[in-house]
């Protein structure tokens, strides 16, 4: 199933949808389907973790259902909730004549599906993106583990809902909290590193085809050497793309023509803390531009 042809085909269609994927990632994505496990992606912010799920949804031509995790996320916001206002109205109506029973108020009509339940009840298998799982707490992680092994949930008032299709589950983590070994074992794992020069150049050219080849090369070289500096927040791919777009907007054709002032003004898209902005002065910019050729 995961023959070389299949791998290359997936890589090509990912590229078509605007995502440059390494071969290893393509193999892992194929495995998600063949052995039916979720995919856990770790890596620094801005390396394109969320983008993997979006690209997968585009390639599979299916819905992307996203659950953004945050501290305090509970099952009411992740799984389902009853529409109380409608329930109360129905009860009020019942008081003035129309007869309704217990099972009618707690029927699908009054159920609000949140992302997880939504993903289980699709006709075609969707991509379920559970973003920044490390922000949710350990209790939610344990609940998720159960859901991801059985693909069914029990709603006390309604009964057990079993998945009509098994969604492609992509989890991302920034490492603000260490995830449990149980969850890691359940998932396929991919570590996304900052891209190599070639990969970042390919991404830049895929996303911004109007960019001149020389400027694109300079931008990538600049960003790559910036990551080697001791910065508080290293620029990710998203930042490189933003910077390239802002340089395009300023009408700059090459970095050496632009001069350090103009570059420093545009660096707001690349450097995100005050310390980093202060540490990259004109002399440093000149050196980086010279190195970028």
């Amino acid at each position: 199933m995961e023959s070389s042809a299949a791998i290359s085909a997936l890589q090509a269609s990912l590229l078509n949808s605007g995502y440059v994927a390494a071969r290893g990632l393509a193999v892992t994505m194929l495995m998600m389907e063949s052995i039916g496990r979720p995919l856990l992606i770790e890596g620094d912010p801005g390396v394109g973790k969320t983008e993997v799920a979006k690209a997968l949804a585009r390639v599979k031509n299916t819905r992307l259902i996203r659950l953004q995790c945050y501290e305090g996320l509970d099952t009411y916001n992740a799984l389902y909730e009853w529409n109380y206002q409608r329930q109360l109205l129905a009860i009020k109506r019942a008081e003035s004549g129309a007869a309704i029973g217990d099972d009618e108020v707690f029927s699908e009509k009054y159920l609000l599906k949140r992302p997880l339940l939504e993903a289980l009840t699709q006709a075609t298998a969707p991509v379920l993106l559970i973003d920044e799982i490390d922000r949710a707490d350990a209790a939610f992680e344990a609940f998720l583990l159960e859901l991801l092994s059985d693909y069914q949930v029990s709603i006390p008032e309604l009964g057990t809902v079993t998945a009509t299709t098994i969604p492609f589950v992509v989890l991302t983590s920034n490492g603000t909290r260490d995830l449990s070994d149980a969850l890691r074992r359940r998932c396929l794992y991919h570590f996304l590193d900052y891209p190599s020069f070639e990969k970042e150049l390919a991404i830049l050219q895929t996303r911004l085809p109007q960019l001149q080849a020389r400027l694109a090369g300079q931008i990538v070289e600049f960003a790559q050497s910036l990551r080697r500096y001791d910065l508080k927040k290293k620029p990710g791919i998203a930042e490189t793309l933003d910077w390239a777009a802002s340089l395009l907007g300023l009408g700059i054709s090459t970095l050496d023509e632009a001069g350090p002032e103009q570059i420093q003004d545009s660096l707001a898209t690349l450097l995100k803390t005050r310390e980093d902005v202060l540490s990259i002065d004109h002399a440093t910019i000149n050196r980086l531009v010279a190195a970028a050729g």
Binding site: R23, V27, M31, I35, L40
Partner: protein, 378 residues
């Protein structure tokens, strides 16, 4: 699949497991299935696929290629592998690594011994030199000495106010209606009794950073006993020792078997009673552990006299960034109790602007007071 090949693949998964990867029977089966579908001759896709399956965290991800090559490649080809993260090399069988969960955290040898290593003259206050002296931990679990501490800690744990979190729980009174429960309980019963939502309360997390350098040697065991009592009483407590480098000792310290706790601590304590580099140790903590351990419900407790031989300014910078992450920073300084004490030590002066509670901790009474202050600050 051929039996010998199956055995070889199962052997590979076992090797991976021995090297500390969290893989089980299911992973073994899936590894076989993948090998069948991809075919064992396609080495590179197979390596990619197994890497995705068998790795669970970033360090495993970076070690996998070496392990794969040393198992599958004939020894004379191992150095020829192209483009890898950590270069070619034979299998590293790290016996001190926590394989099988027996040993504690890996021993930290003096690899970071860069700064003042040549400065071997041990000054009375603080020095940057490391010692290889291993402390005697026999008194750590002496029942007579621990009883008084245990009483105080237990009281502290009981009194420790539970903090409000954003997670919610049903309550009988409050401002926001718990519609789900109100309605569910109301159906059938007729009368609607109101139920409410209140924020759930949890205990805060404690992270203890204990200075065990020579200048603190009078208090080190006392503090360690407190740390042991704390981690027994409160599950979410994390203890680090530092002198010229930082060591994580929570697991060893919380070992219910006192003898095993002593042994494990003795193994970890290389460098005990040496010099102090507080700033560097805080930097190491920030780099390696802070992201994982410190959140907005964390209280950081640092015990030190503030004699620092590291680079000036580093301590202040690192403590500033740590204080930004944590809820409260408490500094216990045994010297503070002395009459006429002023925080003149450079490290202490640097640290003061970033500290929420600055308290003495030289005996049990002062400790009791310090914990009261900590509770008030949380």
């Amino acid at each position: 699949m051929e039996a010998t090949l199956t055995a070889k693949i199962t052997g590979f998964v076992a090797t991976i497991r021995e090297n500390g990867f969290a893989v089980g029977i299911n992973e073994s089966e899936d590894a076989l299935r993948i090998a069948e579908t991809i075919g064992i001759m396609a080495r590179t896709p197979l390596r990619d696929a197994w890497r995705g399956l068998l790795c669970g965290r970033a360090d495993e991800w970076h070690r996998f290629d070496d392990l794969f090559d040393s198992y599958w490649r004939p020894p004379n080809r191992q150095k020829l592998v192209e483009s890898r993260t950590s270069g070619g090399g034979a299998l590293r069988r790290d016996d001190s690594a926590p394989a099988g969960g027996k040993a504690g955290p890996a021993l930290q040898h003096g690899a970071d011994d860069t700064g003042a290593a040549g400065d071997s003259t041990a000054k009375a206050g603080a020095s940057g030199a490391e010692t290889l002296e291993t402390a005697d931990f026999r008194t750590l679990t002496d029942p007579e000495q621990t009883r008084a501490i245990d009483i105080i800690i237990r009281r502290f744990a009981r009194r420790l106010q539970r903090l409000k979190t954003r997670r919610e729980i049903a309550a009988t009174a409050g401002h926001r209606l718990h519609l789900r429960r109100t309605l569910r309980r109301g159906v059938g019963g007729g009368a609607h009794r109101l139920h409410f939502i209140a924020p759930r309360r949890t205990r805060p997390r404690l992270v203890l950073l204990l200075d065990v350098s020579r200048s603190m040697s009078l208090y080190s065991f006392f503090l360690l006993r407190i740390a042991r009592a704390l981690s027994m009483a409160l599950s979410d407590t994390h203890v680090f020792l530092y002198h010229t480098h930082l060591t994580h000792v929570s697991d060893a310290l919380a070992d219910p078997d006192p003898w095993r706790a002593q042994e494990r601590l003795a193994m970890l304590s290389a460098g005990w009673a040496g010099g102090t580099r507080i700033g560097e140790c805080l930097a190491e903590f920030n780099r390696k552990h802070a992201a994982r351990l410190v959140h907005k419900r964390t209280a950081i407790v640092i015990a030190s006299d503030g004699y620092d031989t590291g680079e000036p300014g580093l301590l202040g910078r690192e403590l500033h960034s740590l204080a930004g992450r944590a809820r409260r920073v408490v500094w216990l300084n045994p010297l503070k109790a002395a009459p006429g004490y002023a925080p003149a030590a450079r490290g202490m002066a640097e640290a003061l602007p970033h500290i929420d509670v600055f308290a003495p901790a030289h005996d049990l009474a002062s400790l009791d007071a310090a914990f009261s202050a900590l509770m008030a600050a949380l």
